[in-house]
Symmetry: D3
Subunit: 226 residues, 6 copies
Amino acid sequence: MSDFNSEKEMFDTMQDKLNSAVISDILDSLGAREQAMRPDMRPVYWGATIAGRAYPVLAADIFQLREELKNDPYRGEIEAVDSLKPNDVFVGCINRSSRAGFWGELLATAARARGGRGAIIDGCTRDVAQLTKMNFPTFATGIRVPDSKGRCMVIDHGCPVNCGGVLVNPGDIVFGDIDGVVVIPRELEEKVIPLALEKEGKENLLRNELLKGMTLRDAYNKHRVL
Amino acid sequence: MSDFNSEKEMFDTMQDKLNSAVISDILDSLGAREQAMRPDMRPVYWGATIAGRAYPVLAADIFQLREELKNDPYRGEIEAVDSLKPNDVFVGCINRSSRAGFWGELLATAARARGGRGAIIDGCTRDVAQLTKMNFPTFATGIRVPDSKGRCMVIDHGCPVNCGGVLVNPGDIVFGDIDGVVVIPRELEEKVIPLALEKEGKENLLRNELLKGMTLRDAYNKHRVL
Amino acid sequence: MSDFNSEKEMFDTMQDKLNSAVISDILDSLGAREQAMRPDMRPVYWGATIAGRAYPVLAADIFQLREELKNDPYRGEIEAVDSLKPNDVFVGCINRSSRAGFWGELLATAARARGGRGAIIDGCTRDVAQLTKMNFPTFATGIRVPDSKGRCMVIDHGCPVNCGGVLVNPGDIVFGDIDGVVVIPRELEEKVIPLALEKEGKENLLRNELLKGMTLRDAYNKHRVL
Amino acid sequence: MSDFNSEKEMFDTMQDKLNSAVISDILDSLGAREQAMRPDMRPVYWGATIAGRAYPVLAADIFQLREELKNDPYRGEIEAVDSLKPNDVFVGCINRSSRAGFWGELLATAARARGGRGAIIDGCTRDVAQLTKMNFPTFATGIRVPDSKGRCMVIDHGCPVNCGGVLVNPGDIVFGDIDGVVVIPRELEEKVIPLALEKEGKENLLRNELLKGMTLRDAYNKHRVL
Amino acid sequence: MSDFNSEKEMFDTMQDKLNSAVISDILDSLGAREQAMRPDMRPVYWGATIAGRAYPVLAADIFQLREELKNDPYRGEIEAVDSLKPNDVFVGCINRSSRAGFWGELLATAARARGGRGAIIDGCTRDVAQLTKMNFPTFATGIRVPDSKGRCMVIDHGCPVNCGGVLVNPGDIVFGDIDGVVVIPRELEEKVIPLALEKEGKENLLRNELLKGMTLRDAYNKHRVL
Amino acid sequence: MSDFNSEKEMFDTMQDKLNSAVISDILDSLGAREQAMRPDMRPVYWGATIAGRAYPVLAADIFQLREELKNDPYRGEIEAVDSLKPNDVFVGCINRSSRAGFWGELLATAARARGGRGAIIDGCTRDVAQLTKMNFPTFATGIRVPDSKGRCMVIDHGCPVNCGGVLVNPGDIVFGDIDGVVVIPRELEEKVIPLALEKEGKENLLRNELLKGMTLRDAYNKHRVL
C-alpha cells in the first residue's frame, strides 16, 4: 500500500485503472494460478466493479427457523453486516444455494453505511433493480426472489470461506468486474498491484501496433505480451 | 380486487408499485413459501415487468409433425393464443426443453392484440430483439433460434401446469420482474396485494434510517422489517 | 453470392436485413434442421451481430506448458489469428472448457486488422468490456478471467470443428445475433440467403394484420407463415 | 401401528412385504403426491432396504474448523448419532454437498448399536465396502472419499430438513429400496401401511393374468390396477 | 436377415455373439457415426442385453389428469404396450423427465406376453428389483418411484422419437448392453450384422498376440484393428 | 518404499490392507487436503481396486482425423500404452468428454502385458464386460460405446494432467477403490503409507468398542479417532 495515501485511494485506483484480467495475469506470473472464481459468479448489473478487502461470511440452508431465533430471525446477517469496516467487501458463501435471495437492498444500504464497497455471494441475491439504482456492486451465482428468513442462516463470519471455488481469507483483496472475480492473497498484494499497473501500459503499446496492421506474430515477437 | 376499479388498474398498479420480493415476503407470512419460480426463469430484457392472470399452456417435444397437422402445424399454439383474454399472461410449460424457440414475436403480437400482458415460458423463446422493441415482457428459461414447427406441440391449455417449479392454475396471478417470477394463488390475492403495498412503506422508513448511518441492529430492532 | 458485388456486401446485408430466426426457418424448409447452436452460446454484449465465413480453430485444455512452447506460449493462437482472411469469423472450439478466457481484446484487435468479422467460442472469453467498446461481436459459452497460457492450446485450425453442437466446416457461413448462432453449410448458401430475405417480407404482412386485431387463426390461414 | 406388536415388527414387515412403489401409489391415492425423493438418492449397495423413523440431522459445508472444535471436531456428528433411538433412521441433509464423505462405517456401527436401522444422506457417504459387508442400508446422493473433519459440520438435529427434495419431520417414516426413497408423513402412516399391503395383493392377480397372455387392456379393465 | 431362419434367431444371435462396441465400430466404418445413445442411458441391472426392433413411444409430462382420462388414466400406455409385436423393443421417450417411473414390472410383464424383448426409456423406470428377477432387459436414464398416473401421458406411438440423443424410427434395430445402446437404421442392418460378426473374429487374433506380450504398435501394424 | 522389497510388493500390500478413506485421512493430517478426485470418478465394476504409479496421458476431442493420421489413427494411444512400465497406472485426461469410449479391452490387454496395474480415465471407457472379466481395474467418469478413432486424440503423455479435479504428476501414487480415487504426491509417499497402515489398526479398536455398545462420545473420547 506504500504507493497510496490510504486504503480507499488504493482501491479507488484499482477500480479505475485495473481489470480482473491483468490482475489474474500477474497472479499467474507469481505462481498463484487458481485465484479466479468460477464463471457462474457474475455481476448483477453491467458495469459493476469492486475492489476491497474481503469480509467472509459463511451461511447454510435451513428448513425451519430455530426456536431461539423466532424473535430475531436475521441475527447472523445483522451481526455480519454490522461487522463490516470501511473498504470491506461482504463475501458470502452459501455453497451456491438458490433457496433464497441471501443478499438485497437493505443489507446493501447498511453495508454502505459502514463503508462497505460491495458484495460477492456464492449463492443468490435479490433486489437487483435497487442494487443497480444505488450502484452497489454485487456479484452472485444467481438471482432469486425469496427472503432468507427460515431458508438460510449465517453460521460464522470473519472466517475463511470458499467463494466461487477460491479460498478467501479475511483481509484478502477481492476484485470483480465484467469478466469475473479474482482474489489477491494478502501476502501478494504488495507485488501484484504495481506489476498490474505496469502490464496495462505494455498492452497499450501492443494494441497500437495491432491497430496499425502488424501481424500478431510480429507484434508478439516485439512486445512479448499477450 | 375491491380496491381497484378494474383488473387492468389492479395489474397496472402492481407493476408500478410492487416488486416480486415484497410479494414473496407477504406470501411467506401467509404460509405460502414455495411460490417463487426457479432462478433460471429470467426476463429476456432488462426492465421487463409483468402482472396478470395466468393462462397456462402445456406443450411437449415432438420429433415429427403428425400427419393430421401437416396442413396446420401450429394448431395448438394458435388456439392457445387466440384463447387469451384481456390481462392474461401466457404461461407456457415445455418442461425446460431447449429444442426450439417456443415463443416469439408473432405470437406476442397476436397475444397483445387479445389483451395479453406478457409471457412466461418454462422453455425457450426467440425474437428477443423484437420482443424488446415492442416491450412485450417475456420470461423464459432460455433463448433458442429454431421454430417450434415439428419440434414442440401444444397438448393442452387452460389446465394446471408446473412452470419454473411452481404449480400454476388458470387465473392465478403471476408477477415477474428482474428478480424473478412469483405466483399468487387465486384464493390469496385479496390478502396479498394490500399487505404488499403496506410493507413497501415500512421498508422505506427502515432504508432512511440506514442511510443516516443507524446500525442494522438498531434499525431492525426499531422497525422489525428486513 | 450472385446478387451481391462482394462478400463484404453480402455479409453486411445479412447483418442488416436478416436475423437468425428467419435463416433457421429457411434451413428447416430445406431439411437442414440441426443448424442452430446450443442455447448456452450467447453474445457477450447486447446488440452483437455477426455474419461471415467460419475459420474453425480447435483447442484443448492443458495443464503445463510444453517445453518447446516455453518461449512461444501462444504459438497456436497467433498462427490461427494470423491465418484469418477478410470476412472470416474465428470459430474456436475448446469443448466448452471454462479453464481460461480463450479469446480476448488483443486477439480481437489482431483479428479485425486481418479483416475478421467476429468470434464464436465454444468455451470462454475475457475482456468483455473492451470487446464491447471496440464493438467486436463475440459469442461464447462463458466468461472467465484467466489467460490461456498454460491452460489451453490450439491443436489444429482450418479443420472441421463442432461448435455449440453444430459441425462447422471451413467456409461455412455463421450468423449470430441475440437469439443465438446458426450455421449455413456452404452448399446451401445460394438458396438460403434469397429465401430468407423473401420470408422477412411475408412476416411483415402478417404482423400488420395481427396489429390490426385479426386473430392468429385468421392471419395464419391467410398468410400461411408463422 | 395397531396391527403390529411393536415398531420393530412393523418396520420389519414393511421391509419384508412392501416396496417403495406401492407405498408411493397409496400416498398418491391419499393426495400426498410429492413424497418421493429425487432420483439421485440411491442405495449404495444392491439390495439395501430401509424402513424406520426419521431422525433428521442438518449439516453445512465449512472451510476451517472453528477454534472451539479444535479438540472435538466431530462434536455434532457424535451428538446426533448418540441421539438415535431404536428403529430410527439417520436422515442427514448437507444440501447435496460432495465435499466429504459425511457418513461412514464407524458412524454406522455406532448408529446400529443405538438401534438405528439405516442412513439416508442428501450428500455423500464413504466406506461403501464396509457398509455393504455389515449390511447397513445407506442411501446417498454420492460417494466421496474425504473425511468430514473441517469440511462439514452438524448445525442442528431433531429438526425438519429437506432431504432429496422432500421435507422430512422427526418421526416421519422413511422407506427406501432399489427404486428410491419415499417419506410417509406421521399423520398418514395408519392409513398408508394397511392400504399398501392390500394393493400388493391385487397386483399379484393382475400379474398372473398378464403372464397367461391377457392383453393389458383386458387385464386393466378387469382389475383397475396398474 | 438372409443368414438367419427368423427374426428371433437373428436377435438371439446378436445378443449372444455381438456387443454394442463392435456394432458401433461397423456403423462408424459405414459413415453412421452418431448412432450411440448418450452415456446416461444405462441398463438397470448388470448383464441386461437387448437386441430387437424399436417400437417408439412418445410421452410428455402432465400436471393433471385430463377429464376424459379420469376413468382410463393409462389409456396411452396400454395402447402402446398392446401394440407390441414379437421381437419389438419398447422405446419410450419422455425427454429425460424424472417426474415418474414411466416403465415398470406390470408393463414389462404385458410386453413380454406380446413377444417384446425389452425396454429403452429416455426417462425413468421403477420396479427395478422385479425387472431384474424376471430378467426383462430395461435401459433408462434414471430410476424413480412415483407412478405415471397424472404425471406423464403417452401422446403418440409408432412414430419417430429421439431417444438418448439418437433418432429412432419404427423398425430400426436397437442393441443395448453394459456399454450402452446403439441404433442400427433399418437400411443398414443387412450390412452391419455380418460385418460385426466378422470383426469380432479379428479382435480375437489381436488380443491373443497382446496376451503373448507383443507391443500394441506391432500388434496394430499386423492386424490393423483396434 | 523402504519397508517393502519391491514396488510390486508395496502396491500389492496397499491394495490388500488399505483403502482410499484411510489414505485420505492421513493426507489430510499432513495438510494435503485436496487429493481426492471428484465423485463422478467411479470404478466400472464392483470390487475394482488399484494402487500404482500414475502415467498421465492427455487427450482432446477432435472432429476429423488429421491427414497425417489417416493410416495410423491410434498413434497417440499406441505410443502412450507402449510407454507404460511395470506398476504404472494409465491416467487419461480428456476433460470429462463423453464423445467416445477412450479406454477399452484391447488397450487394457496391452497395458497389462507391459505391467500396467489399471486405468483411471477422466472421460469414458467401453468394453466394461470384458474389463470386468479380465479383472483389469478401471475407473472412469462415464461409459460410452463409440471408438475413439476420429473422436479423441492423445496430444501428450508423461506430462502433468488434471484428472478428476486433482493434478497428477508422472510417478505420483494413485489409489482407487469403491469410495473413489486419491492421489499421493511423490514427496509424501514415504510418510503416508506407514501412517495409513497404523491408523487402520486404531480404527479396529474403536469399532470393537462400538460393537459392544459404547456410545460414540465415550469411544471417541477414548481413542480420538473417527
